[in-house]
C-alpha cells in the first residue's frame, strides 16, 4: 500500500447561498483545491464526490457526471463517482480517494463534498434529513433527526448524570471558535443561557443545540506521498483511515449512548496510523447536535464513557485546551452542508497541520477527522499527520 498525501485544499464560504447553484458551489471549492496544489485538469486521474441527497434537495441525480462536465473533465473522460452515506458521504468519499491512491491504481485524485440545502422549505429539509434514519420504523412513527439525538441525550443524562449545561457548553465553544473562521456560517458568540432558552426542537435539544441548514462545498487533492513534494513544500499525510457500520436505528443498539461505528472506525484508523488517542493533538468531530460531540469524544477514546460532558465542562476541548475539538466551529457553527462536512473536516485539519489556520491556529502534528452518517449507522475516522507514516 502506498502512503497518501494531501497537497491541495479548497472550501467555499458556508451559509445560505441564494445566488449560487449546486454546480457553482462545488466548482468554487474544487478550483481552490487545484490551484492550491498546482494541479492541472490534465493531471487528474479520478474524482470522488460526497453528496447525500441532491435528488431530494435539487431534484438532480447523476451529480458526479454533472460536476465532471462543468469542471471541464468530461472532455478527458475522467471517471467521477458520487458516494453516499447520509451525513458521512464526505468522509466516505475521502476514504474512497485515499484507497484509490493507496492501492497504486491512481496517482492524482480530487475528492470533494457538496450539498445545496436551501432550495427547499425547512419542513421539507426536516423530512429529507429524516431519510438518514430508518424510514419505515423510525421516521414513520414520528422520529425526526433531532428527535433521535434527543433520545440519546436523555438516556445519556439519565445514565451518566450529564448536565444540560455541559451539553450547551459544546455549542458555546463551537460558536466561539467560529468567530475566528471567515468561512463559517455563524461567526457570533453565544451563551449557555441562549442555548437553553432557544426554541425547543426535541427536548432537551433546542435550535442552538442543532447544526443548521447550509449550502457549501469542500475539496482536497490526493497524490502518493512519494510525489507530494512535486506539488508542495508542506504536504500533510493521511496515515490512517477507518470506516465502520452500526445498526441504522438507535432502538436496536444494546447501549443507546454508544456509537459502535465510531469506536470501530477509530480503532481501525489508529492501528493503520500506528497511533492511539493520546497522540491526537486536534480533532474535527461530528457535532450535528451538541450531544453528538460528547458521544464522539467518548467513543474516539479521548475520555471514559460517560465523562464526555465533564471533559467539555473542564475546558479540555477548547481552542487553548489540551485537546482542541472542532476549531472550525464544527457542524454547529461552521455549518453542515451534509455531503461536504467530511471533506471540510479534512481541509480544516490540513490547515492546522500546515500552520495556515489563521487566528484559530492550534499547535498540532497529528489531527483526526470523525464523520458520522445518520444517527451512527456509518462512521469514518481519518488520521492526518505532518510526518509520513514509517
Amino acid at each position: 500500500m502506498k502512503d497518501v498525501a494531501v497537497v491541495g485544499v479548497g472550501i467555499t464560504e458556508f451559509g445560505e447561498k441564494w445566488n449560487s447553484s449546486f454546480r457553482e458551489i462545488f466548482l468554487n471549492a474544487g478550483i481552490q483545491a487545484l490551484e492550491d496544489a498546482g494541479v492541472k485538469g490534465e493531471d487528474i486521474d479520478e474524482a470522488y464526490i460526497g453528496n447525500m441527497s441532491a435528488g431530494r434537495f435539487i431534484a438532480q441525480e447523476h451529480v458526479s457526471a454533472l460536476i465532471a462536465d462543468y469542471a471541464g473533465l468530461s472532455e478527458m473522460n475522467v471517471p467521477a463517482t458520487r458516494v453516499e452515506a447520509a451525513c458521512a458521504s464526505g468522509g466516505l468519499a475521502l476514504r474512497q480517494g485515499f484507497l484509490s491512491v493507496a492501492s497504486g491504481v491512481q496517482d492524482t485524485v480530487v475528492v470533494g463534498g457538496v450539498e445545496k440545502m436551501t432550495d427547499v422549505q425547512s419542513e421539507q429539509s426536516v423530512e429529507i434529513l429524516a431519510a438518514a434514519s430508518d424510514r419505515e420504523w423510525e421516521a414513520f412513527y414520528g422520529a425526526t433527526f433531532p428527535g433521535l439525538y434527543a433520545l440519546i441525550a436523555n438516556r445519556h443524562i439519565h445514565k451518566y448524570g450529564t448536565t444540560r449545561d455541559q451539553i450547551a457548553q459544546v455549542a458555546v465553544k463551537n460558536h466561539y471558535n467560529a468567530t475566528m473562521n471567515p468561512k463559517a456560517q455563524f461567526q457570533n458568540k453565544i451563551t449557555k443561557e441562549m442555548v437553553k432558552n432557544a426554541t425547543k426542537v426535541a427536548d432537551p435539544l433546542t435550535l442552538f443545540d442543532s447544526s443548521p441548514i447550509t449550502d457549501g462545498a469542500a475539496a482536497v487533492v490526493l497524490v502518493p506521498a512519494e510525489k507530494a513534494h512535486q506539488y508542495t513544500d508542506n504536504p500533510v499525510y493521511i496515515t490512517g483511515s477507518g470506516q465502520a457500520s452500526d445498526t441504522i436505528s438507535i432502538h436496536d443498539r444494546n447501549d443507546i449512548t454508544t456509537i459502535e461505528s465510531t469506536k470501530a472506525a477509530a480503532q481501525t484508523a489508529y492501528k493503520m496510523a500506528n497511533k492511539d488517542q493520546s497522540d491526537i493533538d486536534v480533532a474535527e468531530v461530528h457535532d450535528c447536535f451538541t450531544i453528538a460531540e460528547i458521544l464522539a469524544i467518548e467513543d474516539l477514546g479521548f475520555c471514559e464513557k460517560g465523562k464526555g460532558g465533564k471533559m467539555v465542562e473542564e475546558g479540555i476541548t477548547e481552542l487553548d485546551g489540551k485537546l482542541p475539538i472542532n476549531p472550525s466551529g464544527g457542524l454547529k457553527a461552521c455549518g453542515h452542508p451534509v455531503g461536504a462536512t467530511g471533506i471540510k473536516q479534512a481541509v480544516e485539519i490540513t490547515n492546522h497541520l500546515r500552520g495556515e489556520a489563521g487566528e484559530r491556529q492550534v499547535e498540532a502534528d497529528v489531527g483526526l477527522c470523525h464523520n458520522v452518517g445518520g444517527s451512527g449507522g456509518t462512521a469514518t475516522v481519518h488520521i492526518l499527520s505532518r510526518e509520513e507514516q514509517k
Partner: protein, 135 residues
C-alpha cells in the same frame, strides 16, 4: 409513505407482529428475516408482541416535525423495550408531557399514526400508553 408500502407491513404495524430466531431465542421488532447472532444458522419464525408490557428506555418531546406529523406536535416519542434487547421507536399517548419518565411501564394501543396532508391518507398502528390509562 404510499399505500402499498404501508399495506405490505400492516400485520406487523397493526398487531405488533415481529419475529423470533428459534436457534438463539432472540426476538425482533421491527421484524428481521436474518438473525444477526446466527445469520444463516438462524431459524426465523413469526412472534407476536401484542400482549407485552413495555418499558420506556428513553424519550423526547418532538416540537418540530416533518410534514406528515406536523399536526400532532408536541408529542412524546420514545424507545420502548418489549423483551430483553427487543426495542422499537413509537409515540407515547395518554400521558402529559410533564409526567413522562424513563422506566415507566407501557401497553400498546391502536392509534392514528400519521396523515399525509397531500391526499388526506390516514395511517394507523401501535402507540404506547401508561398502564391503567389505556382506556
Amino acid at each position: 409513505m404510499n399505500i402499498p408500502r404501508f399495506w405490505r407491513k400492516i400485520n406487523n404495524r397493526y398487531n405488533l407482529m415481529g419475529t423470533k430466531c428459534e436457534n438463539c431465542g432472540q426476538t425482533y421488532f421491527p421484524p428481521r428475516n436474518i438473525c444477526p447472532n446466527c445469520r444463516r444458522e438462524g431459524e426465523i419464525v413469526e412472534h407476536s408482541f401484542e400482549d407485552e408490557i413495555g418499558e420506556l428506555i428513553t424519550y423526547t418531546i418532538i416540537r418540530s416535525a416533518a410534514e406528515d406529523h406536523e399536526k400532532e406536535t408536541p408529542y412524546i416519542l420514545g424507545i420502548i423495550e418489549l423483551e430483553e434487547n427487543t426495542r422499537l421507536t413509537s409515540q407515547i399517548v395518554n400521558c402529559e408531557i410533564e409526567d413522562v419518565e424513563i422506566g415507566m411501564k407501557l401497553k400498546p394501543v391502536f392509534r392514528k399514526l400519521g396523515e399525509q396532508s397531500k391526499d388526506g391518507l390516514l395511517f394507523y398502528g401501535v402507540k404506547f400508553s401508561p398502564i391503567g390509562k389505556e382506556e
